[in-house]
């Protein structure tokens, strides 16, 4: 066993992880572990922009932004967190600019801004230009800029280290409320050698990103398997609001590759098979720029009612043909190239086939506004932090507004980095490692290795495919009791089959086969949590739409779902923090 000791260990080197690393490594000895080279993280795929009320092009302020965030999240947002998010947004953007991020500019040389879904002037009057952007590669620029700053600060990276277990000094579930549980470190698997490493640390930050791969049609990378969430969950910590998954309206039909909302921000229009601009019916004021949950549902509804396009009538069209090619090239170069490369469609002259794609997990590891992880509704786990898509602060509530996630990773990544470093500096020594710290992982890995050559073993790919298919079929844009129960049954059966999976590669070095098997285990756990939460939430809110309960029910469900694992999956609820915005009906 190889033991490493650090003040702070950060798991993940996407936007949230590296933003945290920049803060933490200035203050304390920091290691950043990542299963991918940092620049491969999925933050780099983000396209449209990052919200901040800079007022560079139009009158705007943080309060309007806060309101939009809360309303966009269908009032499930913790309002104290949303206020922080929107107030610190301006500095978050300016910080990135000072680090060198090449934003698009206005004529006066300031950071340019564009419109995005759900971002409005004066509490919903009209769309406002709030998203700071760099063409349609904003995430790429953020990821590169943060990586560049990490190089400058000589942040210590452990590339292609898969963190697969979290070490706490006590079992968080059996420890009574009020008593202290502390983090001791993490256990990681090194891809290049197959070696297992223990990292002991005073503070640990999880920033492992999303879990889109529980669905088949998704804008998420193959590597977004929700590791951090599942690891925390398996260590006895709850997951919050996992039933809220965002389906982005405009994925390339059949492929799920994202075409940014910026396409509509720049004037793109959705049309059905009759050529109708159908969003006028669903959101008369801001039409195509309504929040994602609404647009996605409207699209799915058009298709369901027979107004879909194509031979199977299973998608709608995103029309950019009325825009100047030069404008498209300047503002949307990448996504138009995706349409050309992957569907052979020329967006200058032809509308692009699109359909909703699983995009973003609103839920995750529950934290407070310092990024400290909660083990129940009130107690923090000492030294454990989470930030980014794997965390649930919750600033996105039931539906995240576009451009608020890149903001989230910067604001709360930074906060978690500072808090973790300060905690480490104030702590004498890291908690004692549990006995045989890596035993659990070693046993897991060995068991999987021993499956090589087992006759009749289940195939990882097959189990994963069936999981993703049942999730797409039963837990997507529209859900109901029957479909969710079907998904639940499927998942239970698949979990059983998972026990019998076999891998092909017994090797130590670069055994990606083994890791895919482990990742599949994570996906199964998370899918179960998503479905359980969705079954219990008998209302429709934001990204979670129950056809058997089509309205929002503030009476019973104005609260966060908390799902605990262990022997028996257990559901609980947590109140929503309300500061000044009382729930209203959500109309655009």
């Amino acid at each position: 066993m190889t033991l490493h000791e650090y003040d702070v260990v950060i798991v993940g080197a996407g936007g949230a992880g590296m933003r945290a690393a920049l803060e933490s490594s200035q203050r304390a000895r920091t290691a950043c572990l990542t299963k991918l080279y940092p620049t491969r993280s999925h933050t780099g795929a983000a396209q449209g922009g990052m919200a901040a009320a800079l007022s560079n092009v139009e009158d705007d302020n943080a309060e309007w932004h806060t309101f939009d965030t809360i309303k966009g999240g269908d009032y499930l947002v913790d309002q104290d967190a949303a206020e922080i998010l929107c107030n610190e947004a301006i500095d978050a953007v300016l910080d990135l600019e000072k680090m060198g991020l090449p934003f698009n500019r206005t004529e006066e040389g300031k950071v340019d801004q564009r419109r995005f879904g759900g971002h409005t002037r004066n509490h919903g009057e009209a769309a406002v230009r709030r998203a700071c952007y760099s063409a349609d590669r904003t995430g790429h620029m953020i990821l590169q800029t943060l990586y560049q700053q990490c190089i400058k600060q000589e942040v210590e990276f452990f590339n292609e280290f898969y963190v697969l277990d979290l070490l706490l000094d006590k079992d968080p579930q059996s420890t009574p409320e009020g008593e202290e549980v502390s983090v001791a470190g993490v256990v990681a698997y090194e891809l290049a050698t197959g070696e297992i490493h223990t990292f002991r640390a005073k503070s640990v930050i999880f920033a492992t990103g999303g879990a889109g791969k529980v669905f088949k049609t998704t804008s998420n990378a193959h590597t977004l398997t929700g590791d951090g969430m599942a690891i925390a969950y398996n260590a006895g910590l709850p997951l919050e609001d996992m039933e809220f998954f965002q389906f982005h309206p405009t994925g390339l039909a059949g492929l799920g590759i994202l075409l940014s909302e910026a396409a509509r921000g720049e004037g793109g229009i959705l049309r059905n098979s009759e050529g109708e601009r159908f969003m006028e019916r669903y959101a008369p004021t801001i039409k195509d720029l309504a929040p994602r949950d609404m647009v996605a549902r409207a699209m799915a509804n058009e298709v369901r009612e027979g107004r879909g396009c194509g031979p199977h009538k299973d998608y709608v069209l995103l029309d950019l043909t009325h825009l100047e090619p030069a404008h498209i090239d300047a503002k949307l170069p990448d996504i138009t190239e995706f349409a050309r490369t992957y569907l052979g469609v020329e967006p200058y002259t032809e509308p692009v086939p699109v359909y909703p794609t699983a995009h973003y997990a609103m839920g995750g590891i529950p934290t407070n506004v310092q990024g400290e992880v909660l083990r129940n509704n009130t107690d923090k786990v000492k030294g454990l932090y989470a930030a980014g898509e794997c965390a649930c602060v919750s600033v996105h509530g039931a539906n995240r507004l576009g451009t608020n996630s890149l903001l989230d990773i910067n604001v709360f990544g930074r906060r978690a980095g500072i808090a973790a470093a300060e905690h480490a500096l104030a702590t004498e020594a890291a908690a004692e490692l549990p006995e045989d710290a890596e035993g659990r992982l070693r046993a897991w890995v060995e068991r999987l290795r021993d499956t090589v050559g087992t006759p009749g073993a289940e195939s990882i790919a097959q189990v994963r495919r069936e999981l993703q298919e049942t999730m797409d079929r039963n837990a997507q844009v529209f859900r109901d009791e029957a479909s969710l129960s079907a998904a639940k049954a499927d998942i239970a059966a698949l979990k059983e089959r998972y026990e019998a999976v076999g891998i092909h590669d017994r090797g130590q070095r670069y055994n990606t086969d083994l890791l895919e098997a482990i990742e599949l285990g994570f996906l199964l756990d998370l899918a179960e949590v998503v479905v359980e939460g969705a079954l219990a939430r008998k209302e429709s809110r934001g990204g979670h739409y129950r056809e058997d309960f089509p309205t929002r029910d503030d009476e019973n469900f104005m609260r966060h779902t908390m799902v605990y694992g262990g022997e028996q999956l257990r559901l609980d609820y947590k109140p929503v923090v309300v500061t000044k915005y009382q729930p209203m009906e959500r109309k655009y």
């Binding site: 803060e23 200035q26 610190e88 500095d91 910080d95 400058k152 600060q153 000589e154």
Partner: protein, 153 residues
């Protein structure tokens, strides 16, 4: 909250203007000498191979005839020097690319250097000390000298 102060922890190489660098001169030289050589060599080839009887005309007398004119002397000298340095430098780039072991590389570079120097020296000596009408031991003109030698004598 203000932006984090971004210091440069890395040792910064003292800036200012560039140290003039050999690789850059080499690169520039290849371009300028190449352009010049184009003119020099093509004229040379044209005169030697295309005019008159082509290769067939080349003999001692032909060479002597040309070198009687200082223009051709300078011409050939320039061509020699430029081509050798241009080609020699080109060969140096190749050796750097392909000879990986340091000792082999050093050896080859020396070999190349010596070859280039020897050829340039030899060539210029020939051009400068060239005698179009050499005599044999007995003081007669050697056979094969150009016709004008007889007039000179």
């Amino acid at each position: 909250m203000t932006a984090p102060e971004l210091s440069t922890p890395r040792e910064r190489i003292r800036s200012g203007r560039m140290r003039r660098n050999a690789e850059r001169w080499s690169w520039l030289f290849m371009r300028f000498s190449g352009a010049l050589l184009l003119v020099l060599i093509f004229t040379h080839l044209f005169v030697n191979l295309m005019t008159g009887d082509g290769v067939q005309q080349i003999d001692f007398a032909f060479v002597a005839g040309k070198w009687a004119s200082p223009l051709w002397k300078v011409w050939d000298l320039l061509m020699l020097v430029l081509a050798m340095i241009h080609g020699g430098n080109g060969m140096r780039l190749l050796i750097n690319d392909y000879a990986h072991r340091p000792r082999v590389r050093t050896f080859l570079l020396w070999l190349l250097g010596i070859a280039v120097v020897v050829v340039i020296v030899l060539g210029s000596l020939v051009i400068f000390t060239f005698d179009p009408c050499p005599l044999d031991a007995s003081g007669d003109l050697l056979s094969g000298v150009p016709d004008f030698c007889k007039d000179v004598r």
